[in-house]
């Protein structure tokens, strides 16, 4: 089973829920941190990393000896990532989506691949928990290709928990797609509600079952709960604002370790999800 933890709004507690849930469960469990722009799960998991490798994406390189300046590459490229300027063909590798169109369109075999670095993937473990994260290279604009590669590192069996990035556009969709369940995390504030509506819209578009965790549940107002009720979105957990939780988080520590009474609540959360998925 794959559970993807998402939110719309940033800073609502995705990483808190993902990490505490992952360490509370025994057996074949892995945690994938797909918030590759700002990955934080490893700060709480403290995994022993066994493998770090650079991930790249192919971008075009022009063989000027073969190039006839016909302009077909520039014509097919929808991303303005390759242009013909006077007597040279200029690829802009940062704009390239690696679709391969230019290479396929070139009649004189003058385009070959070179690699653009997207970032790194690290794999490790903490006790029996398998941990994988991706870290986007500073200055790299495109996170979805790296997120796809992080997801591809996961085995099919057992339980996979995904810590997704915030927002509702392509990076989040990449982190949610193909999951068996999406756990949305929000806070009961106008910002939390507004972004929850967007996130739920994305989940509905992917047609996935989902549930809600309300963090800092005693701050703000009741509108998130009212909305959840009106959408038949089950509230699977509420985490009240507690200075001890905020401080534990601030130090990079796990709630289930500092406040062990929370461990059973996270196990209950999983059982709840398991019941929904198994129908």
């Amino acid at each position: 089973m794959i559970i993807s933890i998402a939110s719309g709004k940033g800073g609502t507690g995705k990483t808190t829920v993902a990490t505490n849930l992952a360490v509370s469960l025994a057996g074949n469990v892995r945690l994938l941190d797909c918030d590759v722009e700002e990955p934080n799960s490893h700060l709480f998991i403290n995994p022993v990393f066994e493998d770090t490798h650079i991930v790249t994406t192919p971008v075009p390189e022009i063989d000027e000896k073969k190039c006839t300046l016909c302009g077909k590459c520039a014509e097919i490229c929808q991303f303005r990532a390759i242009i013909v300027l006077g007597k040279t063909v200029l690829p802009f590798e940062n704009l390239c989506h690696s679709c391969g169109g230019c290479m396929k369109a070139c009649p004189s075999d003058a385009i070959r691949w070179k690699e653009r670095e997207l970032g790194t993937i690290q794999k490790g473990h903490r006790n029996s928990l398998e941990f994988i994260n991706g870290t986007l290279r500073i200055g790299e604009a495109m996170s979805p290709p790296l997120i796809r590669k992080v997801r591809a590192e996961a085995d099919k069996d057992g339980l996979t928990i995904i810590d997704a990035p915030p927002g509702t556009s392509c990076p989040v969709i990449t982190a949610m797609k193909g999951a068996d369940f999406v756990l949305l995390v929000t806070e009961p504030t106008p910002f939390g509600l507004h972004d929850l509506k967007l996130a739920l819209g994305a989940v509905k578009m992917l047609n996935l079952p989902c549930g809600l965790v309300i963090n800092r549940s005693d701050m703000g107002d009741d509108k998130v709960k009212e909305y959840a009720r009106s959408e038949s979105l089950p509230v699977l957990m509420e985490i009240p604002f507690d200075r001890r939780i905020a401080e534990t988080y601030s130090r990079g520590e796990l709630i289930v370790e500092k406040m062990p009474e929370w461990k059973n609540r996270f196990i209950d959360l999983y059982n709840h999800i398991d019941n929904i998925v198994k129908g």
Partner: protein, 291 residues
């Protein structure tokens, strides 16, 4: 003209609440919401929209079943596995690269321009605001960010205003890169947590990469004063000025629930004075940077 972009790396550190508070304090500016993916600034600004435009970002392949001979070449060429066995293109997976369109031997694939959002020019009680809404699950957020910033700049020019306050997106990817280029300075709002520090360092490196000067302030500093000190020292080591600290103060949530800035909700709140002091410093720095 100066533009201050408020960013954070990590989400939920208080960018939007702080931008709104600055809007209350700043006079003669244009507000710009560059977090087009999960825009929230309008919830505090109650904008009255007087211009609304479609945002067209890219194209999408659609197979014309009358012409399609099901040869399968498009499925072979598609790098995104966006075309299924019954020759339907998944709009979520289609990257808009047009490779299938170009090579289809029957010219059976249409490639219409997609409307993937809207952008607006509005009036607020603090002045004009340019903002947008990217459609759910859409791409090209960077282009929409660039567009709203460009429109904010144009509007400020027309109105003879000298300052743009831009509420930026979280992260360090495409929309953040689009919100940084050409800005006068960025203010990074950091929370005093291990995650907050980690994410500040990454977004500060990004600002450095694009040669935009960065300053920081620590929000909710009293949740972990030790971490606050570490963050401030780290920022200084990296050549960023530390503009101040804001305490954890429920006034931010209470004001948000009322759709107000903290100064409107409770001008006597502890956070107000701190934010005012930070704003005074920002205003000072922006003058210095540009004189």
């Amino acid at each position: 003209m100066k533009e201050l972009v408020i960013i954070s790396g990590k989400g939920g550190t208080g960018k939007t609440s702080l931008t709104a508070a600055f809007a209350f304090l700043a006079k003669y500016m244009v507000l710009c919401d560059a977090d087009v993916d999960a825009a929230d600034l309008h919830l505090l600004m109650a904008p009255e929209i007087f211009e609304k435009h479609d945002f067209q970002g890219g194209n999408q392949a659609i197979i014309n079943k009358d012409k399609c001979i099901e040869c399968g070449l498009c499925r072979e060429l598609c790098n995104w596995n966006a075309i299924n066995e019954t020759f339907n293109v998944s709009p979520i997976d289609c990257e808009g690269c047009g490779v299938c369109v170009y090579f289809c031997p029957e010219k059976a694939i249409d490639f219409p321009v997609k409307t993937c959002g809207e952008w607006y020019i509005s009036d607020t009680r603090f002045g004009s605001m340019v903002h947008a809404r990217l459609g759910i699950a859409e791409e090209n957020s960077g282009r929409l960010v660039a567009l709203v910033r460009q429109q904010a700049k144009k509007l400020a020019g027309e109105k003879g205003l000298d300052l743009i306050l831009t509420d930026g997106p979280p992260g360090i990817g495409c929309p953040v890169i689009a919100s940084l280029g050409g800005a006068s300075a960025v203010l990074i709002v950091v929370e005093p947590t291990l995650s907050g520090k980690h994410d500040m360092i990454r977004v500060a490196e990004l600002a450095g990469h694009f040669k935009v000067p960065a300053m920081i302030c620590v929000n909710k500093f009293d949740l972990n004063e030790d971490e606050t000190k570490v963050i401030e020292d780290t920022a200084r080591e990296k050549g960023m000025e530390v503009l101040g600290r804001i305490p954890f103060d429920p006034v931010f949530t209470k004001a948000m629930v009322q759709g107000q800035t903290i100064f409107e909700y409770d001008p006597k709140a502890a956070a107000c004075e701190c934010v005012k002091r930070i704003w005074d410093r920002v205003a000072e720095r922006l003058e210095c940077n540009l004189s």
